[in-house]
Symmetry: C2
Subunit: 489 residues, 2 copies
């Protein structure tokens, strides 16, 4: 445990880095840019996966698995795709090591691949080369497939969860017979992500379109959910892409319609990654540690006995067992921490650091009064509660915490969207943190100029947006709606 | 669907290859040696994963995630490990592509890694380099961690599921303060695998020790479960390794015991992979297609309506909905196939090919009689059954099928273990197929000589083995127990 973590105000970035490590979520590995996801961090990812996978299946998708390696030539087939991804990838050139005369392990130069293999940064190319064999007619469509996988992008500056060379994600890749159906799928999946972010991560997001400049390499349209972190920076939390016929054309994937007419297949892809864990941390946590929404907390309730003698512990443990049974019957995950190597104060601090939503302390006096002390992680408040009906009490409390965390983040987010009408106002907001809601003339040039001047990027053109005639905050040219800019992770 | 598959008798190997593809389980990809696991095959893997993961957690393990890439130098640290794995691995040497003058995408030679990275063939080295930071004292032990991941071994001759360059697996890596505890863990996990194979895959296995020659590279002891396929070849289905202090010494991982005395940490590792899907196919399936044990079947019941008119279909569908609701309430997975593009006969053949354990057909006469026709995939028999109580009937039938599949494989396996006392008898058994239970003098030389002469390998020294004085089947030297040899996948 040690001496606590740097406060957010002191140094937000350091607060995050320390928190990830001290809460046992992840750490840097011996491999530059790659992280080790520790059991506690991975348990959060498993909870995310379980819920997302359920939502994907409820919307008709199946899982499959495609190769890690992609032949280099595949990247050349979709012109904008290669520009977006080829610059940052791990290249496999050999398939054998050997021991040289001096006993050193070296690459065997005789085992050089004819064509280099790229470790997938994303799988559109390998998947569309496969779909070519799966699709002949409209009867083979739609294909609604998702993959849970690791991907590699050679990032120069990395941060645990937020930007690492290797990360875990899911990537949906669907194939359709019409543009309308593909667009509907693109929209459906960004809505699934939005629902997951808001209801499970308790993290409010703004859904919208990306500008041409911020689109996925190879997409016609990219939809995004954007969240606001406590330091006023935006974090892109999930994207869903309408790929048009670009990849079908690149890999020559055609289907015969009911009249036998051939056309290229329409595509979407969509993904979220372990980056969401970074978002979860930064959206809710405080200077004492993690604040986890109950729906994604690996441990929802920690129970700490307060005792002086073995007899007291034994009596307390009997009451605790009854509480555990009641809570488990409600599907609540409980940890009873009866370690005798640590004092209660140490344990309290540990569960605060780890963001356990509810903590229950029970001592001898509680036994007399059939009560216990319940602490909420979100508000750090305590209450004495009867052990009767404690299961209902805790169940309600977990729901209340989930809601409270969301509401807090929602209010913070809404208080940090600023309508700006001049470039000075714009720069002030960006400097201070938050979304600048500004008119923009719709050109890439202006967008890039703004980025150059302020480091702010165009986060999205919100789906729910009032039409409003105005003038571009930089050029003064006409605009018909406001868009959101922010500095971003 | 096409014209069916090659029979096992005709060509067992071809039967397998065709079955995997025609039943939509997997296919070869554009990347040499890497497979695409299709949705139906992946659904089986998901069922396997869910059950195994549950069993790992019930035995106290947690999941985590370690890097895909391992620095080349890590492989040199454990001497026997490098010999076992370095020969067959994918080597990442560069981290960027670029477009050359002619517009071709080429490897950027300026982006050469200082130290090459190996795509993990197994993760002992990267994990023990990490454990070094996690372990100081006995209080940090045991570490009971599992990882679900992809691994790459550069196989020259590949076969779908059985041997592919990339495959999916889980690898448990545990750390202990005593040799006894580590050995207990090694035994516990081979028992978990055995229980999974027998109760879930309905596949009888023999548990035993590997000979020194067949041990995992870096292990002191390897335990295995060996199954017998229908062609009389053995298939190693899971292994659990006692690694002693080898990796702790290689990565200098020491712990202080209660008295403060430093010692190296004791290790185990254990894994099963998508190879199990190959085993599942070959253990039970027949010339009509897959035979899946109900506990791992993605679809347990397929319902096919028999109708001539839309009205008939509509009436049938009403009854079917009631059946579906009843079955789902029991947790049984059902697919109602009301496609109007295919005839019932086509659908019947498809569900036989795909190994759906139970098929229900309902036509107009069934409606009159409140009955339906139930077909079992394992015996290919049919029965007319009342729709009343169909949920209990099907539930029992699924259990019966699970048991029957196991019993059939158990009898086949037991009928194909042959005690042999001469080398001629030995060769006959190996030629014909099955396990040869033979005396062996315990030397690597004899084991290798036998392999050279017969292609049979020493599959295991069974845990449950009678002590019996005898003479080595090849050399005539003394032996105190029989061991199992077979040709193997």
């Amino acid at each position: 445990m040690g001496k606590g973590i740097t406060s957010r105000e002191e140094n937000y970035s350091q607060w995050y880095n320390e928190l990830v490590v001290k809460a046992d979520l992840a750490e840097n590995s011996a491999v530059r840019g790659s992280m080790v996801i520790k059991p506690y961090g991975y348990a959060i990812w498993e909870k995310m996966q379980a819920q997302l996978d359920k939502m994907f299946k409820e919307t008709g998708h199946e899982n499959a698995y495609f190769p890690l390696f992609i032949p280099k030539s595949f990247f050349s087939k979709e012109a904008s795709h290669v520009d977006g991804f080829a610059k940052e990838c791990a290249v496999v050139t050999h398939y054998r090591l050997k021991t040289d005369e001096s006993g050193k392990v070296v690459v065997d130069e005789d085992a050089k691949l004819e064509e280099e293999l790229i470790v997938r940064p994303t799988s559109e190319t390998i998947i569309w080369s496969t779909y070519k064999n799966w699709i002949q007619s409209y009867r083979d469509l739609p294909i609604l497939v998702n993959q849970w996988a690791n991907v590699v992008r050679w990032e120069m500056r990395t941060r645990l969860f937020l930007r690492t060379a290797e990360f875990l994600w899911q990537e949906g890749h669907t194939a359709h017979s019409t543009a309308e159906e593909a667009l509907e799928e693109t929209t459906k999946m960004i809505n699934v992500y939005s629902e997951f972010a808001e209801k499970w991560m308790a993290m409010p997001v703004i859904m919208g379109r990306k500008s041409e400049n911020e689109r996925f390499a190879g997409a016609i349209e990219t939809f995004t959910i954007e969240a606001l972190m406590q330091d006023g920076k935006a974090l892109q939390s999930g994207t869903s892409h309408f790929l048009g016929q670009n990849f079908a054309k690149a890999f020559d994937v055609k289907f015969a319609d009911k009249n036998g007419k051939l056309d290229f297949v329409w595509a979407t892809s969509w993904g979220v990654s372990t980056r969401l864990i970074g978002a979860l941390i930064m959206a809710h946590s405080d200077d004492k540690g993690l604040v986890l929404p109950p729906k994604l907390a690996p441990i929802q309730v920690a129970i700490v006995p307060i005792y002086k003698s073995e007899e007291e512990l034994s009596e307390i443990s009997k009451s605790v067992q009854i509480i555990i049974d009641k809570l488990k019957a409600k599907g609540i995950s409980v940890k009873y921490d009866n370690r005798d190597t640590q004092k209660p104060g140490f344990k309290f601090a540990e569960y605060e650091l780890k963001g356990v939503p509810v903590r229950i302390a029970i001592g001898p006096r509680d036994l007399e009064q059939n009560s216990c002390e319940i602490s909420r992680r979100d508000t750090l408040t305590k209450e004495n509660v009867s052990q009767n009906g404690i299961d209902d009490y805790v169940e309600n409390l977990l729901n209340e915490i989930q809601e409270n965390i969301y509401n807090k983040a929602f209010i913070f987010r809404n208080n940090n969207i600023f309508k700006v009408n001049t470039f000075d106002e714009f720069k002030n907001v960006i400097e201070k943190g938050g979304f600048a809601s500004a008119h923009w003339d719709g050109t890439i040039e202006t967008e890039l100029k703004i980025k150059e001047l302020t480091k702010a990027t165009l986060r999205c053109i919100p789906f729910k947006n009032d039409l409003e005639i105005g003038k571009c905050v930089l050029t003064g040219k006409p605009s018909k709606e406001r868009v959101l800019f922010a500095k971003a992770y």
